[in-house]
């Protein structure tokens, strides 16, 4: 017993503030991509060609980027001869609407809280059921991390529960494989009204890397309505946390 106590003291308090977690992001972290349109050579299409999910396209001289398709891989940033695209350390990426993820002409519009009526029912707390529907276990793992003592999700009133019947909504990862569609729909039906749906990762937002496969459905919102989109492949835990806190109105 004494060993347990000594170790407890030695390990110390590790729960971190959002500011502290933010400060710990490495310099090569790939968050919100900044696009400097003025540097772009109109004839150059290297970024468009190199993008594995066709998340980048050009409208005349304007580079457009769909964060819902983007895998946040370093390819476009490294291929661009004039450094137009630069992944910043800005981890805030969650939006309420799918079209808010399309950037290039306008900046991202971050998520707003759920409507007043629903929020009154939920209070400031949220119980969620997670469904993995073809996710590669990266998004799942980084959602799981929110439960560790660094992020300590419970302090924000958010908790993952074992049954959809005990939950206020579902958080879905993966491109929704044909083989998981039925189970996902059943889980969604089992959540009592009013219910919310959160899509985490490029897979449930757009189908991601697998969008053109017949084995998967192209995005979650073709099947059920989505209230919060959190892009990334996988999104960093702090990106997911930021999205959840915006949804319940704790960050505005």
């Amino acid at each position: 017993m004494i060993k347990v106590l000594i170790e407890r003291i030695r390990q110390g308090k590790r729960t971190a503030s959002i500011e502290k977690i933010k400060a710990g992001l490495p310099d090569v972290f790939r968050g919100y991509p900044e696009i400097d349109q003025s540097k772009c050579d109109a004839r150059c299409k290297l970024c468009v060609e190199v993008c594995p999910t066709k998340a980048i396209w050009k409208e005349g001289n304007t580079i457009r980027l769909d964060l819902g398709k983007c895998l946040f891989c370093p390819e476009c940033e490294q291929v661009c001869p004039t450094s137009c695209i630069h992944f910043t350390k800005d981890y805030r990426l969650a939006t309420s609407k799918r079209e808010d993820l399309l950037i290039g002409k306008k900046e991202i519009e971050l998520a707003k809280d759920i409507n007043e009526k629903t929020r009154k029912i939920f209070g400031h707390s949220l119980r969620l059921r997670q469904v993995s529907a073809g996710g590669c276990n990266a998004c799942e793992a980084d959602v799981n991390v929110l439960g560790t003592l660094v992020f300590d999700l419970g302090r924000f009133g958010i908790q993952f529960v074992a049954s959809p019947r005990h939950s206020d909504g579902i958080l879905v990862t993966g491109p929704v494989t044909q083989n998981m569609k039925l189970a996902l729909e059943k889980t969604y039906k089992a959540v009592p009204e009013p219910k919310i749906v959160i899509a985490v990762g490029s897979c449930p937002i757009s189908g991601g890397l697998f969008a053109h496969h017949n084995e998967v459905h192209r995005g979650l919102d073709n099947i059920i309505p989505v209230d919060l989109y959190i892009p990334g492949c996988p999104p960093h835990p702090i990106t997911i946390l930021d999205g959840l806190l915006r949804l319940i109105g704790r960050i505005k």
């Binding site: 060993k3 347990v4 170790e7 407890r8 030695r10 390990q11 590790r14 710990g24 992001l25 490495p26 090569v28 972290f29 790939r30 060609e49 190199v50 594995p52 999910t53 895998l71 946040f72 891989c73 370093p74 390819e75 490294q78 992944f87 997670q130 469904v131 993995s132 529907a133 073809g134 996710g135 590669c136 276990n137 990266a138 998004c139 799942e140 793992a141 980084d142 799981n144 991390v145 560790t148 003592l149 660094v150 993952f160 074992a162 049954s163 993966g174 494989t177 044909q178 083989n179 998981m180 189970a183 889980t187 890397l209 697998f210 496969h213 017949n214 084995e215 998967v216 492949c233 996988p234």
Partner: protein
């Protein structure tokens, strides 16, 4: 009967496809039975459409001589099942049947592997839809007055991937567990045909997201051998560091999760955080906690500055101290040990017969480790000792993880002290050798990862076969649950911690 001359190549080497002998099925079968009796393991066994039939390729790992032995045979509608003689062939044959409809005659357990929605029609030479309902099959069942059945999944209570588990129970006692997967099937392998493009490497990073480094490294090695390029020594060093960091993160996380499953919260809480610290070290290298966007054929997308090397070394030292403290609590707590020692037994013989790999095999005293037996990249120059333990239970699997954590830390520290100079820039143009085969093995954190690549006459990928360690090991979990309490299932499951998507592809 003629003898089969296996083509022998080393790990991450390639050879002309003409050098792979095509033998009559009788000789092929007999030689494989003989080879496996002599200690070879099946690393990969798969079909490639050819004419109106299927060419079966087998890659056997010869761990003693550090070579991979390859042979092939041509079959049409059916072939005599190897499983009757070699249990470890069972899943490979089921996969061949599911993908191409070629029947392994006499297979004792011919059930779906992953309920593939697209299968290959050998007559029409095209992919066709396969209307199946995932999970619908005949499960093994036990009859009796007090027997009951428990069905779990695909949606589980925790934040994990989906799979279906069917238990036949007598009271608390599990008589049989059958695992049915396929819910994660995304159809990756079919999409890897043709010239490698910007998508190919992304598929590798998401075969099993928690093993991004392992699978991408296997891919890079195969492609490098097929295009006669080599990563510089700095590349090799940094790749090995990334692979060991992936192992450290997952082993630490697993020990925490095992502690959680027996209700021992101190270690569970500490390890949950420490796993993240290792992931953040990978992020320091390449910006992604899972090593996304790091490894590419011929090099790396990110170079690592001397300052970062210093930072990494100091973080590693600090984190390892905390991991030691957290994990040693487990071994000093008798209630934890009692729970670990009395659950999830697998015998050494079953382990060998089923072809179990990685941590699960080493925890049964089977001394196999690709890093030593078939060294690749940096492991050709820096050795890492093989960690084994004999008891084959949950304790053994936990303890092997702890041994490997210690060895990996020593290994990384050694490498960090001497990072060579070099240009890590990846290759820009990949010209694959025509009509060739390459086999790449990597010891991922779960165990052996095997990628076999066949190229066509134009230098495009003709067939890409991925075998994740989980493909070998799920049967081990089924066996380890026999005669256990059903309440110990989460603990046993976690002690294997297998990938669903790595199996479902």
């Amino acid at each position: 009967m003629g003898t089969v001359q296996f083509l022998k190549i080393r790990n991450s080497e390639s050879a002309s496809l003409d050098a792979v002998g095509n033998y009559p099925i009788g000789d092929f079968t007999q030689s494989i039975i003989g080879a496996v009796k002599n200690g070879r393991r099946i690393s990969s066994f798969f079909g490639v459409p050819e004419g109106e039939g299927l060419r079966l390729y087998i890659a056997l790992a010869n761990d003693k001589e550090s070579v991979i032995e390859i042979a092939s045979t041509f079959v049409k509608d059916s072939f005599p099942s190897l499983t009757v003689h070699i249990p470890s062939a069972h899943l490979f044959e089921r996969e061949i049947y599911e993908q191409f409809g070629v029947l392994p005659e006499g297979h004792p357990w011919l059930k779906p592997v992953r309920f593939q929605n697209k299968i290959y029609d050998l007559k029409r030479h095209t992919l066709v839809n396969n209307p199946v309902e995932c999970g619908e099959m005949n499960y093994f069942s036990v009859d009796g007055d007090e027997i009951h059945e428990v069905a779990v999944g695909p949606v589980h209570a925790g934040i994990i991937e989906p799979g279906h588990f069917r238990f036949q129970c007598f009271g608390e006692l599990v008589l049989n567990l059958e695992i049915s997967l396929g819910y994660q099937h995304r159809g990756i392998e079919w999409r890897l045909k043709g010239k490698p493009n910007s998508r190919t490497v992304q598929y590798m990073e998401t075969v099993a997201g928690d093993t991004s480094i392992g699978h991408t490294l296997a891919y890079a090695q195969a492609i490098e051998s097929l295009s006669n390029i080599n990563g510089c020594s700095k590349t090799q060093t940094l790749r090995a560091i990334a692979l060991e960091l992936e192992r450290l993160a997952n082993h630490t996380g697993d020990l925490g999760a095992l502690a959680n499953d027996v209700g021992y919260l101190p270690t569970a809480s500490y390890c949950g955080r420490l796993r993240g610290d290792f992931l953040n070290m990978t992020a320091l290298l390449c910006g992604s906690r899972f090593g996304r966007g790091f490894i590419r054929p011929g090099g790396l997308m990110f170079d690592v500055s001397p300052d970062k090397v210093k930072e990494l070394a100091s973080r590693l030292k600090r984190t390892y101290k905390d991991v030691s403290g957290a994990v040693n609590l487990l071994w000093n707590t008798s209630s934890v040990r009692a729970r670990f020692e009395n659950a999830g037994f697998l015998t050494k013989q079953d382990c060998i017969d089923l072809g179990i790999v990685g941590v699960a095999a080493r925890a049964c005293g089977v001394e196999i480790d690709i890093r030593r037996d078939h060294p690749f990249g940096q492991y050709c120059f820096s050795q890492i000792p093989v960690s084994t333990h004999q008891s084959g239970n949950v304790f053994s699997r936990a303890y092997v993880r702890w041994l490997e954590i210690q060895r990996s830390v020593e290994f990384i520290e050694e490498l960090l002290a001497n990072i060579p100079e070099g240009n890590v820039k990846p290759a820009t143009n990949l010209n694959l050798k025509k009509n060739s085969i390459a086999v790449s093995l990597v010891e991922g954190w779960r165990g052996e990862i095997c990628h076999v690549v066949l190229t066509d006459t134009h230098g495009g990928i003709e067939h890409y076969k991925i075998v994740d360690s989980s493909f070998h090991n799920w049967s081990g979990l089924e066996l380890a649950m026999k005669n256990q309490q059903i309440s110990d299932f989460p603990l046993c499951n976690k002690s294997f911690n297998l990938s669903y998507c790595g199996y479902d592809l």
